[in-house]
Amino acid sequence: MMTHDPFHGSAQKGRPIYLDYQATTPIDPRVLDDMMPFFTEKFGNPHSQGHLYGWEAEEAVESARSKIAALIGASDKEIIFTSGATESNNLAITGTARLQKSDAAGSQKNHIVTCVTDHKCVLESCAALEREGFDLTYLPVSGNGLIDLDRLRGSITDKTILVSIMSVNNEIGVIQPLAEIGAICREKDVFFHTDAAQAVGKIPLNVVEMAIDLMSISGHKFYGPMGIGALYVRRRPRVRLDPLFSGGGQEQGLRPGTLAAPLCVGLGKAAEIAALEMDDEAGRLGRLRDRFLEKLLSRAEDVTINGDMEKRIPGNLNLSFTGVLADNLMAGLKDLALSSGAACSSGSDEPSYVLKALGINDDLAAASIRVGLGRFTTEQDMDFAADAIAAEVDRQQTHPGYRAPAA
């Protein structure tokens, strides 16, 4: 792993150590190498049928599709390229719901189940459908961030179209019981969609074993490029969708528009690398994380770990420090690129809805930071981070000027 390590010792070079791998990941140099020719000499439109430029681009796109399919146990034709996980989530949720609605021939189904800690774009898609007249159930989570399977089972009715539950939470890294959710959905004969943006390439996923019908994938969350994602759409039994937009019929009509061949190639390569290295990488990150945590807990006072520690990807920690404001903490940690939550609705001061859903009080939620580590994070980075965070937390906990205002 050390041979491709763009951020090794990065703090020394005057750039902060990147510990925000759930917001986005650096592109793997091997991915970049595969992509670059498709920006230049192999620039053809993969939909051009008359010449070499088109054919070589198409061949590369199809090879990438196979690699993505292989990573999740799907077949090639079940992979639809999109512009990213947000689009995939919108397409999966709005697409299945709107199709039911337009399927006027008697379908009375109008109910969707999701989870309060799902990604904003899932919740926004659901809210839009609610405004269109669909019924929504938002499942709560336990204090550890996981859903209750009995509650899920109880929420599904004969009107339910779809259950959409994320695989891994972007803020707290917890892994939902996918196989169990899939089994319940299969038994109840409803579609199961999972936003796997934070899970693909991090944990083993298999759409057959987990009975997943729709799965959203993002390129830039696992060392692929931004601007590309995919939606897995089961063919047997077939999941039918109403597309978000119309056009030249590409991607089986589900997602028209010229495919960006370099980006597809990059996503394919990212999938190929993940399939090979995921297991070792997870072990390495787990050791790094544990070492970091041990170091931090031995020095810092009043630390809370948010979210389940067992059912969690190794590359995520979400920590609250009593008596400290996350914004102040981040401002004091100039050598670390950290986040206080999801990198979405930038700049908003609202406490994280995910942490609130765990029952964490506003003070602790406002004191939370997310530490995201990944492929290019080194032991040095994490040692440095543990020291820096412990020292800054201590400074702000003891310095009267930094005290969080009494609520």
Partner: protein, 389 residues
């Protein structure tokens, strides 16, 4: 180099990424940072995205704040039409018969505005259509969608006039300018349209990024509903983490395109040369020769020779071009553009499109001309033999 790459005369399908944009994309690919993150890398990403927004805005004379980045032209067209329908309840949509399929299929019940035999939109017909109630949608306020330049024929539509007619009837106007920008001066204010679609990979930028540009008077209202919902990016008009390298590449390509505009308009010399030389053959028809056209596009027939056979012959000779739009792969369907111009199916089936761009050379044009002559001579000989037998 491996495989020898052919002469590329299919720039309306896609263009190679120009060197400056390539460099910018490569740099951006090395940046890590989600533009919505507040830390240093996130802020750096935000800054380059906003610089790119300025550059794309400048290409069409818009304000930066009114540029909404999308995944490409198809999404931009859909956002304009579907987004407006969903956001404003304006269900009536009129589009010219020669629009790209992503416009024509963006909504059900789109009414088509006819074009004349040159492929130019019929302004009088538009005026009449807007004056009369439509069967499906009554007389409610409409959206008119007319492209600036056609991908197959290169015809430049009288969009300013379209906008004037439409505005007189209280209609909003969308313009698909995907094929026009970088090939002719484009000014959203002068054209008087409310929305304009752009695509990066048609102007030397990377595929996978485009934009819907809003005019100031539309941007102030909130009538556009997002098709992709989520984290509130792009002022709530298009969610999803921004495609940083794509957007950066688009910005640089836009800047280059603006700078190179005088050079591109010079390409008309090549187009005219092709049409002069090949037009001498009896029966060769150049489509839309009498209409204002892009300098880089030429759509013409080879009498009696099916387009797909021509394409294969050209490909074997090392020349890449196409029969029309590079869309729904595989299917050889008669061109809806030529059909709308009243061209008979038999003749339309013999039409190919030659489109050149920023890296086309004199030698490429020469190769095309000699190959065309060669293919035609051989094909005619075969036809003669068949007829004699």
């Amino acid at each position: 180099m491996g495989i020898k790459h052919p002469v590329y005369l299919d720039h309306n399908a896609t263009t190679a990424v120009c060197p400056a944009a390539r460099k910018a994309v490569a740099c951006a690919l090395d940046m890590t940072g989600n533009a919505s993150s507040v830390h240093g890398p996130g802020r750096a990403a935000r800054k380059v995205i906003e610089d790119a927004r300025d550059r794309v805005a400048a290409l069409v004379g818009a304000r930066s704040a009114d540029v909404v980045f999308t995944s490409g032209g198809t999404e931009a067209n859909n956002l304009a039409i579907r987004g407006l329908q969903q956001g404003s309840g304006r269900t009536r949509v009129l589009a010219s018969a020669v629009e790209h399929t992503s416009v024509l299929k963006a909504a059900p019940d789109i009414e088509t505005i006819p074009v004349d035999s040159e492929g130019v939109v019929d302004l009088l017909a538009l005026d009449t259509m807007l004056s009369e109630p439509s069967s499906a949608n009554g007389t409610g306020p409409a959206l008119v969608s007319v492209m600036l330049a056609n991908n197959e024929t290169g015809v430049i539509q009288p969009v300013a006039e379209v906008a004037a007619v439409a505005r007189r009837h209280g209609a909003l106007v969308h313009c698909d300018a995907v094929q026009a920008v970088g090939k002719m001066p484009v000014d959203i204010v002068a054209l008087g349209v409310h929305m304009m679609s752009l695509s990066a990979h048609k102007i030397g930028g990377p595929a996978g990024v485009g934009a819907l540009v809003l005019a100031e008077d539309l941007a102030h209202s909130t009538t556009l509903s997002a098709l992709i919902l989520g984290g509130g990016q792009e002022r709530g008009r298009r969610a999803g983490s921004e495609n940083l390298p794509g957007i950066v590449g688009f910005g640089v390509a836009a800047e280059e395109a603006l700078k190179n505009l005088p050079k591109i308009t010079n390409l008309a010399g090549w187009r005219d040369r092709i049409e002069d030389e090949l037009g001498r053959h009896a029966g060769v028809r150049v489509f839309s020769g009498g209409a204002p056209r892009l300098a880089n596009t030429c759509c013409l027939t080879m009498p009696g020779i099916a387009a797909d056979r021509q394409i294969i012959a050209f490909d074997l000779a090392g020349i890449a071009l196409s029969a029309g739009a590079a869309c729904s792969s595989g299917k050889v369907e008669p061109s809806h553009v030529l059909a709308a111009m009243g061209v008979a199916v038999d003749e339309a089936d013999t039409a190919i499109r030659v489109s050149f761009g920023w890296n086309t050379t004199n030698q490429d044009i020469y190769a095309f001309l000699t190959t065309w002559d060669d293919i035609y001579a051989r094909a005619k000989a075969v036809i003669k033999d068949v007829e004699a037998a």
